[in-house]
């Protein structure tokens, strides 16, 4: 067993004036696994870390127990110092003797000392019993797969190529561009969709690191971060790839407003996309264009705001005024969603340009007058409290982006969750393009409705995050952690004890537990690079077959027995 060194910090009397460190020293020194117990005045001051490191090195100590302050005191400084000295901080445990004992129990030195001794005993029991997870190294494939060649996917692919990484860019269409291809003017610019994407599309065609696969779908995904095995199905049959990372950028669709406001049976009731096509062919002709916002959005069925529809209507309303002399443009809305400085300025521009805005209430939506052809709209203007009747010959419905069912199917293949609307979920707001499955990144409207500018920024973000992983030669399973330092360890399945009940598979948030057939039996297996050592599997395993060696039931049991030794 590795020898344990104990170092107690006096903290200039902050600990030692209350806690009887000498009695604790004697008590710990009598433990056979303890090599030495040393009292130090401090651990966090200049020079302390190197002195402690020298002591560990000279005495051949494998594990260290510190009696010092709280992790929210200066223990962070101590640990960072030791790590910088090259000490493996996973073998360093600390008991909080300052905030948790000396300070809070300042009036009861005897009690504070007992509590300090108890905490140290428990940590000692942990160190005595902990085992090391066997680390595994995976070879990282320095290639990436980007699924979807809209603004987000193109930006991700080009970003990766600029970082020197080979990219396979797959799209179900024949050419890159996605939804933006039909947009004749991208707000808030004067550029058309293809013009905006031109630099990215040109790079995709001209960069030897990017290979574009048109009319191609992903047939299957196996593997994990660093080594995904992909099968593509394209016009020339199937292709096998091995990539280190996958970027999902499959985009979204616009809701087709069948049956809403007479769409489908009334002439001159069109969607924003149809309006874009009319602009493209120069066929826009109207006296008064009326735009209705939130058609099929922010309603019981789709309780979300689709982000892009308000600026889209601002743009198209201004375009009508610009391109059709003498025309009027009216936007019927529930809230104008133009957050920030750029879009708010765009809203002000539309107001100055003469676009008329009428606010309606969700409970009293506009009603159209139509007889095969729309002739007018009645709307209760909530701001002035009157019903307005507008003569119109063009009604444009702003419908939301909705999730593409194909994205959800891909998400299942990539073992990442979708939210209740079918959009792909990120791991946490602070990590917006990362997913629960390391090595899989998301960007663009497959993630959530966003503008093309935001989609491009997300593509770049996904590229930079993927590149930071792909530049490694190998990745160790213990390094695959979002928390600082390396992770505690990873779960290990004891095949002899496993009955194949699948509880661990059901609870694992990272899809690291898998059932595997071994002979006649089904047993659990852990994909170590995915495991984050959360311990959920160990908690639900009825047979104790799932354990994290660093903190398994033997360790926890020993800690609890040690804590209650005196009571018993």
């Amino acid at each position: 067993m590795a020898k344990i060194g104990v170092i107690l910090c006096n903290c200039f009397g902050e600990i030692g004036n209350t806690v009887n460190l000498e009695s604790i020293r004697e008590r710990l020194a009598s433990d056979p696994s303890v090599d030495f117990v040393i009292l130090r005045e401090s651990l966090c001051q200049p020079g302390d870390a190197s002195a402690v490191h020298a002591m560990i090195r000279d005495r051949g100590i494998g594990k260290v127990l510190l009696g010092a302050c709280s992790p929210y005191g200066r223990m962070e400084v101590v640990r960072l110092g030791l790590a910088k000295e090259g000490v493996d901080v996973r073998t360093v445990r600390a008991a909080d003797l300052r905030e948790g004992c000396a300070w809070i129990h300042g009036k009861d030195p005897g009690g504070a000392t007992r509590k300090a001794a108890n905490q140290l005993d428990m940590e000692l029991a942990l160190l005595q019993n902990m085992q090391d997870s066997k680390d595994v190294d995976i070879r990282v494939r320095h290639e990436a797969l980007v699924i979807g060649a809209g603004p987000a996917g193109l930006s991700a692919a080009c970003g990766l190529a600029r970082m020197g990484i080979r990219v396979h860019l797959v799209d179900r269409g024949t050419a890159p561009g996605g939804l933006l291809n039909v947009v004749t003017k991208v707000y808030p610019t004067e550029l058309s969709g293809p013009e905006k994407l031109k630099p990215l599309v040109e790079m995709t065609g001209g960069n030897p690191l990017i290979r574009f696969y048109g009319k191609t779908k992903v047939a299957s995904v196996k593997g994990y971060a660093g080594d995904f095995k992909i099968v593509l199905a394209g016009p020339e049959g199937s292709a096998n790839l091995r990539v280190g990372a996958v970027v999902l950028a499959t985009g979204a669709r616009l809701l087709f407003p069948q049956g809403l406001y007479g769409y489908g049976k009334t002439k001159n009731v069109i969607t924003q996309m149809e309006m874009e096509r009319q602009f493209a062919t120069g066929n826009v002709a109207c006296k008064t264009a009326v735009f209705i916002q939130c058609v099929g959005a922010r309603c019981a069925e789709r309780p979300y705001c689709s982000t892009i529809c308000c600026p889209l209507s601002l743009k198209n309303a201004m375009r009508v005024l610009d391109e059709v002399p003498g025309s009027k443009a009216v936007i019927l809305h529930r809230d104008i969603m133009t957050p920030g400085s750029v879009l708010e300025a765009y809203y002000r521009k539309a107001l100055h340009r003469g676009v008329q805005f009428i606010r309606f209430d969700a409970d009293r939506p506009p009603e159209i007058r139509a007889d095969g052809q729309v002739s007018g709209v009645e709307v209760f203007d909530v701001l002035s409290g009157v019903t307005r009747s507008i003569e119109t010959d063009l009604l444009v419905l702003s419908t939301p982006l909705v999730a593409d069912p194909e994205s959800a199917a891909l998400a299942r293949m990539l073992e990442i969750p979708v939210d209740k609307h079918g959009f792909i979920a990120e791991v946490y707001p602070v990590h917006p393009v990362e997913t629960r499955n390391d090595g899989v990144f998301i960007c663009g409207t497959a993630r959530w409705p966003v503008s093309s500018d935001q989609a491009i920024a997300q593509g770049e973000a996904a590229a930079v995050k993927a590149a930071s992983f792909l530049r490694k030669e190998t990745a160790s399973a213990l390094s695959m952690s979002r928390v600082p330092g390396s992770k505690l360890g990873h779960a290990q399945a004891n095949a002899d004890a496993c009955t194949g009940c699948g509880n661990c598979v059901a609870v694992c948030p990272y899809r690291a537990c898998k059932l595997q057939r071994v002979g006649q039996r089904s047993v659990s297996r852990v994909i170590k690079v995915r495991c984050k050592a959360c311990g959920s599997c160990a908690a639900v395993c009825p047979n104790g077959a799932m354990q994290i060696p660093e903190q398994n039931y033997k360790v926890t049991g020993a800690m609890i027995r040690r804590a209650f030794r005196e009571v018993r």
Binding site: D335, I336, G340, A345, V430, P432, V433, A461, V464, V483
Partner: protein, 386 residues
């Protein structure tokens, strides 16, 4: 958060980073938040995790309590002169024992009132009586009054601006009544006041008399979307107010919470449903309108607010116990006096595309948007140089 994210993404791709921060610790304005929307999780842990990653990364040199004094473009890259300020208490030595606080006869040595990990004490030198009792009692020799600012020159290939936002004083806009009564707060002041980890341990009380308020009004677009002060929409305030109002309701359902808004801007994932939770009966009331006057009532009778409910057309004068003002956020590079080293700014004070930037200095952004912009800025910084 933007600067931290950008630094981590750069370091992750093999680049060395100098992270210059004016505060005691990394974290910026996010460190002042009690909760994140829309998860209602504590803001601190995710932030702390990122800060820890920065401090652990050998490729990132963190310069706290520092500012960029001058920045010169050179044939290859930039030279920045960074000033490390000279605090009386050296945070790298202070063990937060509080002996200076006990010894100080003037009461100017105190625990730091802001985010700093590890926590430290600070001494406001200008109010000190020069007795030096604190220097005598400090066990780690962390206290010194004769430290001098250090100026160091840093060479860098590229500069990313991620200086975040500042609150703009609402005092010139007298109709908001800010500064006339302790119970008229800005949203960030209220966030700190009601914080679970703050001095009040999450209790919702008035600042004036520490009594439980009967009603709180959240005023949106205060100073923002207003050509007299800030033309832009600060983007984060609608969700911020919803978060705070719902939190108040959860802590104390008897407090009447009203949000006075212009457009309820809820465009992110789950944001609109977060707002919907209100309509569905937990009692935060949303009123569309703008206040024309907020003024304290005499005799501690709360605050009178004059506003029009623009959806019903009714003009109201109502009494509230507390008023929280939301919206007065601007790019910190636009604040007065202007820093000597700064990039080209738009008329509204945001960094233009001529420089690489991320977070609120580029465009009003919440934590999620900032993290995306930061990664995107990191990519452009790396690849534009190659």
């Amino acid at each position: 958060m933007a600067g931290i994210s950008a630094a981590l993404d750069l370091a992750g791709n093999g680049h060395r980073v100098h992270l210059v921060e004016k505060g005691h610790d990394l974290g910026g304005q996010v460190a002042k938040l009690d909760k994140f929307y829309p998860t209602d999780h504590c803001a601190f842990c995710p932030l702390w995790t990122e800060i820890r990653r920065c401090k652990e990364d050998e490729a990132i040199a963190v310069h706290p309590l520092s500012r960029v004094d001058t920045l010169e473009q050179q044939p290859a890259g930039y030279r920045a002169v960074v000033v490390h300020s000279a605090p009386v208490v050296d945070p790298s030595l202070c063990i937060n024992c509080g002996r200076c606080e006990t010894a100080c006869p003037k009461g100017v040595a105190k625990p730091i009132g802001e985010h700093s990990y590890p926590p430290v004490h600070v001494i406001e030198g200008h109010r000190c009586g020069d007795c030096r009792a604190c220097v005598e009692v400090c066990p780690t020799k962390a206290i010194a009054f004769d430290r001098e600012e250090q100026r160091i020159a840093l060479d860098a290939d590229e500069v990313i601006w991620a200086a975040g936002f500042d609150e703009v004083s609402l005092a010139p806009m007298k109709e908001y009544g800010w500064g006339t009564h302790p119970d008229i707060l800005t949203s960030l002041e209220f966030e700190a006041w009601k914080a679970e980890a703050g001095d009040n341990r999450g209790k919702i009380i008035r600042r004036s008399d520490r009594a439980v308020p009967r009603s709180i009004l959240f005023v949106q677009c205060a100073g923002a979307r207003d050509l007299r002060l800030l033309p832009h929409c600060s983007a984060v305030c609608c969700m911020h107010a919803l978060k705070q109002a719902q939190w108040v309701k959860r802590r104390n359902p008897d407090i009447d919470c009203v949000i006075l808004y212009t457009d309820l801007r809820t465009v992110g994932r789950d944001y609109y449903e977060y707002a919907l939770r209100d309509f569905n009966g937990n009692g935060v009331r949303l009123v569309r309108g703008r206040s024309s006057l907020i003024t304290p009532l005499p005799g501690g009778n709360g605050i009178a607010v004059k506003y029009e409910d623009t959806l019903t057309g009714k003009r109201e004068i109502r009494q509230f116990d507390m008023v929280v003002l939301n919206g007065n956020l601007q790019s910190s590079l636009a604040s007065k006096p202007a820093p000597k080293a700064r990039p080209e700014l738009s008329g509204e004070g945001f960094v233009t595309a001529a420089s690489v930037s991320c977070g609120f200095v580029m465009e009003p952004a919440d934590v999620t948007e900032s993290a995306i912009q930061a990664a995107s800025a990191a990519l452009r910084t790396i690849t534009d140089k190659n």
